[in-house]
């Protein structure tokens, strides 16, 4: 521990609001708190835009076009609105945004615990403690890779890594690679690993198929125009399900190319069903590949139909390029149902099986039986506690860069109300704290 952090640890500093995380979500919240003159501090375990800079693979570009990259008060003003930012460009965009904000930003400060205390929360970090009335969790949706339990005790001859650790194909041993998962991540990794000369098998479960461009516009332009990204959490039939939908199979590339399972089949990638089990050295895949592909094709058909409808209703049928339908996904006649890892044909497994947020430091009883944060559109089930940036948290776009603006504006308003209504009151009751408080040392 440095001298500075030792000194800091000795005392307990105070802020009205502590924002945890200096990515787009935390910074957007800081913008609105600043606009409302609410005193706050932003705590960041690494540097600003840390995960964008450090936890993504080299070739990744944003899935959303540049024109869509906006944060409260800032729009993309560069020369290529239809292009896609590389990760260093995204990180620079966010860092430049941070320079506009006035709140103290403590980088290199990891939050180790948050406990409820009378009138607010106690936030412990590796650089000292904070007392605050409200906490905004903006530490990201992708902190921990979700890796299936069957990944334990795989043969030592097979290297395994998650999409978060993956950087480039040359990092992998020569030989076959099994990529598990068919979201944007799984498809992009399968594509570049196959091109590196390592034969790829791709395990495909439920997925969302989308062309990069349709009728002369980027698909994200259409999703934006149709209001699909603005759909609210309280407007959909089954929000739990909606939050679990994998990211659409898209890639941001200078060529604006479409990446789908047919592209991968053309390149020689072998498609198999969802990875569902393991017996000793043998991995087992589901026989449901055909239905997963048929479902995704049907869903894509409905999306394109909606776009065509919109064009008709807005008199753009003539001026837009003609409607088209993508070729159905080609499914192998009998996809492999098992794969013996002992045969040496697969040298690496890459888990592109999704992520979950890491809230292990949050000692407030706000989790459902499955460990998910209980919240209503970002308003967590404990007074003065908020979350930002989770998938479909408040709107379908909540986990996108441009999605944090509306969420931060609304949640900051709720937070301001909360602070105002509590003024002059004795603070949270003792029994309330007893109910919320789990354990740990407090500074009061």
């Amino acid at each position: 521990m440095s001298n500075a952090s030792r000194r800091a640890a000795a005392s307990c500093r105070a802020a009205t609001v502590v924002v945890i995380g200096a990515g787009q979500a935390g910074l957007a919240m800081s913008h609105y708190l600043q606009a409302r003159s609410i005193d706050h501090v932003v705590l960041e375990r690494g540097e600003i835009a840390h995960s964008w800079r450090n936890e993504r693979w080299d070739s990744l570009r944003l899935l959303t076009p540049n024109w869509q990259c906006r944060l409260p008060g800032v729009r993309y003003a560069g020369p290529d609105p239809e292009g896609f930012m590389t990760m260093p460009e995204v990180a620079d965009f966010i860092c430049r945004y941070a320079e506009r904000l006035t709140a103290p930003m403590l980088t290199g400060t990891t939050v180790t615990s948050v406990h409820p205390v009378e009138g607010g929360y106690h936030v412990m970090t590796d650089g000292g403690a904070w007392r605050c009335r409200a906490v905004v969790i903006a530490s990201g949706a992708c902190s921990r890779p979700l890796i299936p339990a069957l990944a334990r005790d795989l043969p030592a001859t097979v290297a395994t890594l998650s999409a978060r650790e993956y950087r480039r194909p040359s990092q992998l041993p020569e030989g076959g690679v099994l990529v598990v998962g068919a979201s944007a991540t799984g498809l992009q990794l399968a594509d570049e690993i196959q091109r590196s000369g390592r034969p790829v098998t791709l395990a495909v479960g439920e997925h969302v198929r989308m062309p990069r461009r349709y009728r002369g516009r980027d698909i994200h332009r259409w999703l934006d125009t149709l209001g699909i990204l603005d759909q609210r959490h309280d407007e959909v039939d089954d929000i739990v399900r909606a939050r679990q939908v994998p990211s659409p199979q898209l890639i941001g590339s200078p060529e604006h190319r479409t990446l789908d399972l047919n592209t991968l089949t053309d390149r020689g990638v072998a498609l198999v069903g969802r990875l569902v089990g393991r017996r000793d050295r043998t991995l087992q895949f589901s026989g449901s590949l055909a239905n997963h592909c048929a479902s995704a094709d049907l869903k894509l058909g409905r999306l394109l139909e909606t776009i065509d409808d919109w064009c008709r209703r807005h008199g753009l049928d003539e001026s837009c390029p003609a409607p088209e339908r993508l070729a159905p996904t080609r499914v192998p006649r009998s996809p492999k149902l098992s794969l013996d890892l002992g045969r040496g044909e697969i040298r690496t497994i890459v888990w592109a099986t999704g992520f979950k947020p890491d809230h292990a430091w949050l000692h407030v009883p706000v989790f459902d039986p499955r460990g998910r944060l209980r919240h209503d559109g970002g308003i967590v089930d404990a007074p003065g506690l908020y979350v930002m940036g989770l998938p479909f948290m408040r709107r379908r776009k909540s986990s996108f860069i441009h999605g944090v603006d509306d969420d931060a504006r609304e949640l900051s308003a709720h937070l301001a109300d909360y602070l105002a209504n509590r003024k002059g009151r004795p603070g949270m009751s003792r029994s309330g704290i007893a109910r919320l408080h789990s354990r740990g040392s407090l500074c009061l």
């Binding site: 069903g273 569902v276 089990g277 017996r279 087992q284 589901s286 026989g287 449901s288 239905n291 048929a294 479902s295 049907l298 058909g301 409905r302 139909e305 009998s334 039986p369």
Partner: protein
């Protein structure tokens, strides 16, 4: 819910199913079901199975009546053919499961069904069960289901019904995904 739901009737009580979903969210232990069958060998390849009781909703339950099923093999296997082969029962189970799913999903989506006919085929190489080639599996190497559906819906809507019924089908899951099976002797 669609207002259409009130006008169409596939004989499925969707509200009861949705109500069950809500109730079980509060009491997940009631969602644990155990299905049972007993079987008595008759002679040769002929056995008779019985289905009556099961466990679910936190209690013992009972069908309205006891159901009997004869399983046997056909004469080409030098058997007496007292009933369908066990693998044919698997196809019967899949057909029943997917069709029930189609009716439920159609009801929920406000689609009136007029006819739902399925043809099922499961193929296997019996060199597997005869122990002639260890590379050949015993069971089906391919199962094909063809639906002919007459409904007040577009082709895409019908295809979506069929896709969704697979997603929610127990027997489809049992056939497509591995299951732990333990067989013991009392």
């Amino acid at each position: 819910m669609h207002t259409q739901t009130l006008q169409i009737d596939n004989g499925v009580n969707v509200n009861a199913l949705l109500g069950a979903r809500q109730a079980l969210a509060q009491a997940p232990e009631a969602a644990r079901f155990t299905w049972r069958a007993t079987s008595r060998w008759v002679n040769g390849t002929h056995s008779q199975a019985t289905v009556e009781g099961y466990h679910g909703l936190g209690d013992e339950q009972r069908h309205k009546q006891r159901f009997h099923f004869d399983t046997d093999h056909p004469e080409v296997f030098a058997s007496e053919d007292h009933g369908a082969t066990p693998v044919e029962y698997v196809l019967v189970g899949l057909a029943g499961c997917l069709s029930a799913g189609i009716a439920a999903v159609a009801q929920h989506r406000g689609i009136q069904l007029r006819a739902v006919n399925a043809t099922l085929e499961g193929s296997m190489d019996i060199q597997g069960i005869l122990g002639m080639d260890s590379e050949i599996r015993n069971g089906f190497d391919d199962v094909r289901v063809t639906f002919e559906i007459d409904a007040e819906a577009s082709r895409e809507e019908i295809e979506a019904l069929v896709a969704q019924s697979q997603k929610r089908s127990a027997v489809y899951d049992i056939l497509t995904n591995p299951t732990n099976v333990s067989v013991t002797v009392k």
